[in-house]
């Protein structure tokens, strides 16, 4: 018995296993999920799918997570959508500053289900 959706979350990761993992986690938390297998797809789907939250991996080929966010933040429609960055290194926060963007949160890999849930709750509160 599914309850009313809590909203739509776009998940982007070029590692299929992690894309599945995060997507399943987010679905279990009561959201509809849009899956993007790379940065270009993420850009495309973020524009058409009108998600309420973005969960973006940093290191994706061609268009990385920061680039996706930077381009979306320049667009009127997507400006306000909060973004959670999946990252593997602390240095990414510096990289984000170099990009001139400020993600709303970071999730260091690996992460627990509880930590992911807490971050999502915080961003959509």
């Amino acid at each position: 018995v599914s309850e009313a959706s809590r909203g739509t979350v776009l998940v982007a990761d070029d590692d299929a296993d992690i894309l599945d993992l995060v997507s399943m986690r987010v679905e279990r938390l009561g959201f509809d999920v849009i899956r993007a297998a790379n940065g270009a797809e993420a850009l495309e789907l973020a524009r058409t799918g009108k998600p309420d939250l973005l969960i973006l991996d940093v290191l994706m080929p061609e268009v990385n997570g920061f680039e996706v966010l930077k381009r979306l933040r320049a667009e009127e429609d997507a400006r306000q959508v909060p973004a959670l960055i999946l990252t593997a290194t602390i240095q990414d926060e510096q990289v984000a500053r170099d990009y001139g963007i400020q993600p709303d949160g970071y999730m260091r890999k690996p992460f627990t289900a509880a930590a992911l849930s807490a971050q999502i709750d915080r961003l959509l509160a």
Binding site: D15, I18, R25, L59, A88, T89, E93, K109, P110, A113
Partner: protein, 552 residues
């Protein structure tokens, strides 16, 4: 024309004096008690631009003294006539003089008063010292730049500071620092400076956003030619990218200086003014000297920073590659237990627990190794912020508790009331994790590990004490050496790499903290870490360390 026989000499003597004054290199001027000019030699003509015919009989005040100082001149003369003394008499003094063309120049002048019958005559020798002033200024500019470079910790800071140092000493109102950027050798503006009171915000903003290729603008020209280039009036050169803006904002004179290292132009300094600036060969020389110093410094720092960036990128990639599979292993393990729940047999549950525990162990190893690599490569940084140490300690205790339980060790945690500290959340978590896992590892079954957090004076102290095997006195000083393992640890075949404490030490050092160890063989160990509280002072000190290498 007070040409009386004042020195009492014969006509021959007077002719001799006159010829000396005529050929003198210094300007000679004499003045009567009414303040009128009575003598004016050729050097005075050259220095001030007036011929003697034009000035004899006129007042010194109207001829030589800038309007703002005329009143002082007259009152000085009156005072002398009343008292017979004056502060400017009989010694060389530096004052500002007015030339015929309206410009003001610094002069050094020596005035003497000589009685002439009932009256007084004033004689003055003066010389234009603007050259000396200019040379002083030029020396000051070079010195200021040298000091600035010596004090800067990185290229960014050096660029920010060189501009005001150059502009204020050489009298320019706007400075910009360009450096090569990217593979196509385009130049981007990395620092700007404008004199207080100037309203060049738009010009500054546009400049900061500009990128110039090798053929674009004065910067591109200088980059290609490798030579200093002057622009008398920037706004007149319609081809330049910022010409229209310069005209609108009143920016006029400009000079661009290439900075070279090993023959390549690595940067360009631009100086701009709201006045027209004809080329000045002396300033060109100063700028060339400055360019030599700054080019070497900035070029080297930029190259180092680029190398560091490449290393950083590589470590980020490695980190990503190592963490990604662990993310899947740990994530799916958690998901499996959650999804299958009741369905899992006790045995399956135990197997999953083994997978998870070992994945975590591997994760810790990966984190330690990556950190160690960064330390060795000199790219280890801490990101200092206001942190809640109590939360960090509590979390580390949560993670360690199952390990302690498995090892049959009692874990005691005592968290006192501590204020906000300055630190790197993640790295300090790693410190406490490492200390606890070490303590648990080296404590036999039935032992006790206690973790305490408390405030001691102006510091916060994290203490981990155990009842484990301890280390002999001689080994204490080696505990933080890389790969150090005690003989006892080897004999007991306790797992470990000998990296944990090395990392702890590096992180604590980067926080300006201290580590204290108490131990005796067979009698356990106490490790105490003291970290500074978050004070304004402590914070800025800690922050400044971010840019330094935290190697030990």
């Amino acid at each position: 024309m007070a040409d009386q026989d004042k020195h009492g000499g014969a006509g021959g003597e007077e002719a001799r004096v006159r010829s000396i004054l005529t050929s003198a290199h210094d300007a000679y001027i004499s003045m009567d008690v009414e303040g009128r000019i009575t003598e004016w030699n050729p050097a005075a003509e050259r220095t001030f631009g007036w011929t003697s015919d034009q000035v004899l009989g006129k007042t010194v005040a109207d001829t030589l003294i800038p309007p703002a100082m005329r009143e002082a001149h007259w009152s000085g003369l009156r005072r002398f006539l009343e008292t017979g003394g004056g502060p400017l008499l009989g010694r060389p003094v530096e004052v500002t003089a007015l030339r015929r063309d309206g410009t003001e120049i610094p002069i050094e002048i020596t005035i003497t008063a000589m009685p002439n019958g009932e009256r007084w005559d004033f004689h003055a020798f003066a010389r234009d010292i603007s050259g000396r002033h200019r040379r002083d200024r030029h020396r000051a500019a070079q010195q200021a730049v040298a000091e600035t470079l010596a004090e800067s910790v990185d290229a960014e800071q050096a660029m920010e500071r060189v501009l005001p140092a150059l502009c204020t000493t050489l009298g320019w109102e706007f400075g910009e620092f360009w450096v090569a950027h990217g593979p196509e050798g385009r130049f981007e503006c990395r620092a700007t400076w404008q004199a207080p009171g100037l309203e060049l915000e738009e010009f500054e903003r546009t400049t900061r956003e500009l990128e110039l290729g090798p053929d674009e603008g004065l910067v591109g020209y200088v980059q290609r030619s490798g030579r200093i280039a002057w622009l008398r009036d920037f706004g007149d050169e319609v081809d330049l990218p910022r010409a229209a803006l310069a005209r609108r904002q009143g920016v006029r004179g400009a000079v661009a200086v290439p900075l070279r290292r090993d023959g390549d132009v690595v940067g360009v300094i631009g100086l701009l003014s709201t006045e027209i600036r004809p080329e000045d060969p002396e300033v060109t020389e100063v700028l060339a000297a400055v360019a030599l110093q700054a080019g070497e410094f900035i070029g080297r720092r930029l190259a180092e920073e680029e190398a560091e960036r490449v290393k950083d990128e590589f470590f980020s990639l490695i980190s990503h590659e190592l963490r990604t599979p662990l993310t899947s292993i740990l994530g799916y393990t958690e998901l499996l237990v959650e999804a299958e729940g009741e369905e899992l047999s006790d045995q399956a549950r135990r197997f999953v627990e083994v997978i998870e525990r070992n994945a975590r162990r591997e994760l810790r190893l990966v984190i330690d190794l990556l950190l160690l690599t960064r330390i060795e490569a000199g790219t280890f940084r801490v990101a200092i912020e206001a942190i809640d140490l109590a939360a960090i300690v509590r979390e580390a205790a949560e993670v360690a508790r199952p390990l302690a339980e498995r090892a049959g060790i009692t874990l005691e945690v005592e968290i006192g009331d501590v204020p906000v500290a300055a630190g790197d959340l993640e790295r300090l978590g790693q410190v406490v994790d490492n200390l606890l896992s070490n303590a648990i590892k080296f404590t036999p079954r039935g032992g006790r590990v206690s973790l305490r957090l408390e405030r001691v004076g102006e510091r916060v102290v994290i203490e981990v004490a155990d009842t484990g095997i301890g280390v002999p006195d001689a080994a204490v000083e080696h505990l933080f050496d890389r790969l150090f393992r005690t003989e006892e640890a080897e004999r007991l075949q306790i797992q470990g790499t000998g990296l944990g404490l090395t990392i702890v030490k590096a992180i604590v050092d980067a926080h300006d903290g201290d580590i204290e160890v108490e131990s005796a063989e067979g009698e356990g160990m106490v490790i105490r870490i003291a970290l500074p509280l978050l004070s304004e002072n402590g914070r800025s000190r800690a922050l400044s360390r971010q840019s330094e290498d935290a190697t030990r």
